[in-house]
Symmetry: C2
Subunit: 467 residues, 2 copies
């Protein structure tokens, strides 16, 4: 705990007081929505909106200028256009403020005049020692502290244990909105590092490494500011916590797009890949997998090894998912003779049972809950199996369990084995099951292949940590 407290990023993530320079009284404006987010999250520190014209915003008394702030705040949040940002930073430093987050875009990522302002910011940082997050970031969030500098309307951000470092504003805006409205897991710290003129991915990773609130780290990066430092920091943290990364700008066409986005000069992907492998960072290849990985890392233990069992009442599902697992490096091994005996007991005698588990016979003779429940328990008990995926094939007219409680009970009884639920069939059943299971800690996945993709990521994390 002490370690994390002492890190130079601590006041960014656990500020006791903040000034919002550029606060606005107009709904829809960034300077208003930021305050609204801050209040919606129940931030308990002192908030000082700064605006030369307003007197009160959202019930908070407003300071006319930075110099009139009644105290030296832990963090200055600057939500002015690029042109006003350098002046505000200088004033904050003059006031004695040691940390600032600069939200505006319009710097080096845009044009030469923006690059000039960015240079000015660098000069101020060098001259005053003030630490800066951004510019060109959609903000940062710290749910353990009920704090956010996000200006995208989000409301209350759900707390979780996975932290995110993103060289994109998208994670703290639409992706976060997606997570808040589609999913039930939350986040811990989210750091939009933007143009990272001062604080970069290595600093962020270093903080999160020692952060007791953070159990795993997700990253989206388009470039590495200090590759050597990153390798050093990452290598140490990946032995203790999973680090999963989507590296943007891996293709030539993607690199061109990245120049327009973050002015980042992307490196050759082979070098990146080698470095990430050395560092024990797990790579993913789809933006959507940032959410998939966040969900899996939030809600599941890491599997001990790659041996998976799954259950469905469909031979084709079992066959094609077995193929799919093989492609992902997951194994679908034989289960022990005792498990086979148990599976045989719960099934009509004429059906030869094995892994993967065809629960068709059992479900049609003894009901859906019995079939999935007893089948899952049999394979969860088996020491040959590290993770279990019930593929729930449900339709109101042809079999839905009276309750999904049995899945929660099983997941609790075998806490060291990931249990991931997926679906085929009727939409309403799927929605009902997700709404029941996820708030209680068992993840569900809309597509039948996703649990296996999630498991493959968790497995790589596990291997990195034990490397």
């Amino acid at each position: 705990m002490d370690n994390a407290k002492k890190h130079s990023l601590t006041p960014f993530l656990e500020p006791k007081s903040v000034a919002v320079v550029g606060a606005s009284g107009s709904p829809g404006k960034a300077g208003y929505e930021l305050l609204r987010n801050l209040l919606a999250n129940g931030y308990r520190g002192r908030i000082f909106p700064v605006n030369p014209k307003a007197r009160e915003i959202l019930g908070l008394p407003v300071c006319a200028s930075i110099s009139e702030l009644p105290e030296v705040v832990d963090l200055g949040i600057v939500i002015l256009p690029a042109e006003g940002t350098a002046g505000a930073l200088r004033e904050l430093a003059a006031k004695g403020v040691r940390q600032a987050v600069l939200l505006a875009g319009g710097f080096a990522e845009l044009d030469t005049s923006g690059a000039q302002i960015q240079q000015e910011l660098l000069d101020i940082i060098r001259q005053t020692g003030i630490r800066v997050l951004g510019p060109n970031t959609s903000g940062h969030t710290s749910t353990p502290n009920c704090f956010t500098s996000a200006f995208f309307p989000l409301g209350k951000i759900r707390r979780g244990s996975v932290s995110v470092v993103a060289q994109t504003g998208n994670f703290a805006t639409h992706t976060m909105k997606h997570i808040l409205t589609h999913e039930h897991f939350g986040v811990c710290r989210v750091l939009g590092i933007g143009n990272k003129i001062d604080i970069d991915e290595s600093d962020a990773l270093e903080f999160l490494a020692d952060d007791p609130e953070t159990s795993a780290i997700l990253m989206y990066l388009e470039s590495f500011k200090r590759p050597r430092r990153f390798l050093e920091v990452a290598r140490a943290v990946t032995r203790r916590k999973p680090v999963v990364m989507l590296k943007g700008a891996t293709s030539e066409a993607g690199k061109q797009a990245a120049v327009a986005h973050t002015a980042a000069l992307a490196s050759q992907d082979k070098l990146v890949d080698g470095m990430l492998q050395q560092a024990g960072v797990v790579r993913i290849w789809k933006y959507t997998h940032l959410i998939l990985a966040a969900k899996a890392l939030s809600m599941l233990p890491l599997p001990k090894s790659n041996r998976v069992s799954f259950l469905a009442p469909s031979g084709a599902m079992l066959v094609s998912l077995t193929d799919f697992c093989t492609g992902l490096g997951l194994s679908v091994p034989a289960v022990s003779p005792a498990t086979v005996r148990r599976l045989q007991e719960i099934s009509p005698a004429y059906l030869p049972m094995r892994n993967p588990v065809d629960i068709w016979g059992s479900a049609s003779t003894r009901g859906v809950e019995f079939a999935y429940g007893e089948g899952m328990e049999a394979v969860l008990k088996d020491t040959n199996i590290d993770a279990v995926v019930p593929v729930l094939m449900l339709a109101r007219d042809s079999g839905v369990p009276p309750s999904y409680q049995f899945i929660l009970d099983l997941a609790k009884r075998y806490p060291e084995k990931p249990v991931l639920v997926s679906f085929s069939g009727e939409k309403a059943c799927e929605e009902e099951c997700k709404a029941f299971l996820e708030p209680k800690g068992v993840p569900t996945f809309a597509e039948i292949e996703q649990p296996f993709e999630a498991l493959a990521i968790l497995l790589q994390c596990q291997r990195s940590m034990n490397h």
Copy 2:
């Protein structure tokens, strides 16, 4: 039309009268649900339930036995257990019935006694010339004829133009339920070929090749009964209609699972791959992609080539999707100078515009509808672009168009270019947009990568047809 009419499968798919041998008056029983499906689909042919005990089921008069059928029906649907199936088939043949679908499982896929019954069925077929679909199938469907032999409770099956040949009961059961409740597209013919003791994938493909109702064909197979015949038939059809296949049992572990499922001896996947390539069949690798491909083939034209444009208000989205496209073999080319000029006109001057299209500036100054609408039109007009994907990043509080009509209008104005919509952001907005666009013909995809995966499949179809 005439060609299709004369095919030996025509009476299976366009029967004028059917006998349901094993009809039941008990809700939940297969012999009852089958009749309910038939009625729910508005089948206009004559239906004769056969049951020695019942007198009326669902308002239909019941025949006590096959021999008492008042006419020689086009199709006998046998929904008896395996043990009763052979007798029923013999009686149907004796009655003069020339086509039968055998729904029960419990034959060669199960055990030696099942294999004996299957041999008996083969003998009857040889002796009588009756044609048989199945056994061990969850039925077949023909929406142009409002007909189905499916016994899984489905209700009305939506009509569409894509047909399916499946060596699994799953497609006509839970997958169909999934499509009916999650999606808005329909299907044309669905043939569950089961143990394919008579009619096999080559027969089915041959029928669909000349079927004027079928625009594209999806297949799930675990084995090829007559590989040479299949190659011959497929080679001819793929020049006229796309054929997309998920081949199950490609891995060693998958082959073992397949033995339990369909008693199929799977072939070496390299040989399969070579054959499918020769035949112009497009392979997919995920069960879920059967649905993705069905949707794309139902709702979209094939792209002329691989040049895609996409629009989003997020640099990271544009960068990571560009990488993703590159991996799929899609190109994200430069647009013409005229298009760049137009994109520049609709954007704040300081943002340099290109493909992929960052609509952030335009959306934040002139609104979401203007930004997506004008941006889409600019790239749709461009002869360098074959397909367009708006990645709608929506949240109630921060920008939703007043209506999604503009997307329909654009898709109609450029009918030769696929328009595929995807999302990030607030769930409610996404659901609203999908519910509006899809019934009117524009497909939407929950995950941002899916439109590109769908396009990659369509592109392969296009290349096969022009090979």
